[in-house]
């Protein structure tokens, strides 16, 4: 990843120096090695803090809604999954494609520090990845972890490829994988109604309504959100109400249905570790099954499943577990 980072830094410097772009969107070093944060670099000097490592899991595409409105061109580093969100935002006219210079960067799956901590590794000082091994240097010594066990949940089933690029920085070849991203959804579907209800109530009752999932979601790009309306009665968490969290998450999943690219940011940022991606994936699975395979963000044109129809669509009463009877 160091090799990739140096190449990215070179490009960012060159682009800023030549004046081709007015700013670069990337990641900057955090307080620790495992908390890099999205950042905007406007001068070459600022690039000192630039970083691209195994913890840069954040999706930068949503930041472009605001940043790309500024004068001049903006360069951005996008991982494969981020390019889908980017395309979707271009399609919805939230980002002006002409004003963005996309540099596609290699990903090879990012690490989840929470999963590493759960394995008893703390005080992490540096991380090195060699093939399927994660060598961690901590204040207590060295530890070796298996990489597939500590990558972000969204990376576990990722098969995405770059969908938008003006240039690319790829050093290593990505290994081929055969995974079923709907496996967990299918597991839930196989449960009884009571079990499913118990599962979701258990998960969603942990929700603290911090709105992190909404704020990070590239599909949630409304200027004014329905959940920000204090008169709606659903703007914040109600203490005495068991249904409130469910309502929030059902509506949020519905609002992004057909537009969700399955970037998995919602689950990544959830402070309560609620598997929110399973909600969105259910919609994706249903849409695939009922109206034909559809991947949001593959193109910047065309209609989404919920803004189009055919005369012979399945009747709601014939739909059972995402399949037509």
């Amino acid at each position: 990843m160091k090799e990739v980072e140096l190449k990215m830094l070179d490009r960012a410097k060159a682009l800023l120096e030549s004046g081709e772009v007015a700013r670069v969107v990337g990641w900057k070093k955090g307080d620790f090695c495992f908390d890099p944060a999205p950042a905007v670099f406007e001068t070459v000097e600022e690039l000192d803090g630039f970083v691209y490592d195994w913890f840069c899991g954040a999706n930068l595409s949503k930041y472009l809604i605001q940043i790309a409105k500024k004068e001049g061109k903006t360069a951005v580093f996008l991982k494969p999954c981020d390019t889908y969100s980017f395309n979707q935002l271009v399609k919805e006219h939230r980002i002006d494609r002409e004003k963005v210079y996309v540099i596609a960067v290699e990903c090879l799956a990012k690490l989840d520090v929470e999963k590493m901590k759960a394995k008893g590794v703390s005080m992490i000082e540096s991380v090195e990845v060699v093939d399927k091994e994660v060598r961690v240097k901590t204040a207590y010594g060295e530890e070796t972890l298996s990489k597939p066990e500590v990558i972000l949940t969204k990376c576990e089933t990722c098969q995405k490829t770059h969908q938008a690029k003006d240039e690319e920085i790829i050093v290593h070849e990505r290994p081929e994988r055969d995974v079923n991203r709907f496996a967990e959804v299918e597991k839930l579907e196989a449960m009884t109604e009571d079990e499913r209800f118990a599962f979701w109530r258990n998960e969603l009752s942990k929700c603290i309504r911090c709105n992190a999932c909404r704020n990070v979601c590239p599909a949630c790009s409304c200027v004014k959100c329905v959940f920000d309306n204090p008169a709606s009665g659903i703007a914040a968490k109600a203490n005495d109400d068991k249904f409130e969290e469910q309502l929030f998450h059902i509506i949020r999943a519905f609002h992004v249905a057909g537009r969700c690219t399955d970037c998995g940011e919602c689950s990544r940022v959830c402070p309560q570790n609620i598997p929110l991606h399973l909600l969105n994936r259910k919609f994706i699975k249903d849409i695939d099954g009922l109206y034909g395979e559809f991947q949001a963000g593959e193109t910047t044109e065309g209609k989404t499943p919920l803004t189009s129809f055919t005369e012979g669509d399945v009747e709601p009463k014939d739909v059972f577990q995402g399949e037509a009877k």
Binding site: R196, A257, E311, V319, F320
Partner: protein
């Protein structure tokens, strides 16, 4: 003074029916003027088109104490606004399937197409739906505790 009674009240479900102005609402009217009976616990809400129904309406109805929600619109192809109910069909197919995924009984939600000439059909659809929901019993999973306070 409140009467203290141990007698169990018989369960009568609260049903919310969203009816489109052009077909199903007129169908309900016809059912009435033809003196057909359907249960009085069906509360009809008139909407300009079935595609006016936001998923939030359905959830809010459940939250405020509905035991079943039924959505009625023109038959596909007969929409007053040409294509409105085609969108409804996709939307509600996904929403109802999703609610079932969250553990809500599938029988509590329904979409039916009723035209303005189908008064008899409107009555039979409502009778059937009320029967189904009565058998299912009270909606406990989606109700907001606050609406129960007054009881």
């Amino acid at each position: 003074m409140q009467d203290v009674t141990t007698e169990k009240k018989e369960f009568t479900p609260n049903i919310v029916a969203f009816c489109c102005n052009w077909c199903s609402y007129a169908g309900a009217d016809l059912a009435g003027s033809s003196r057909l009976t359907y249960p009085a616990n069906v509360k009809i809400i008139r909407v300009p088109c079935s595609c006016r129904v936001n998923p939030m309406f359905v959830l809010k109805a459940f939250q405020r104490g509905a035991d079943g929600v039924i959505l009625c619109g023109c038959h596909p192809g007969d929409c007053h606004y040409v294509t409105g109910n085609y969108y409804t069909r996709r939307r509600m197919a996904l929403l109802y399937s999703f609610l079932n995924y969250m553990g809500i009984e599938k029988e509590r939600t329904r979409v039916e197409w009723v035209s303005a000439a189908e008064g008899a059909r409107f009555a039979s659809v409502m009778n059937d739906f009320v029967k189904t929901v009565t058998e299912l019993g009270e909606n406990k999973r989606l109700t907001d505790l606050r609406v129960k306070e007054g009881e």
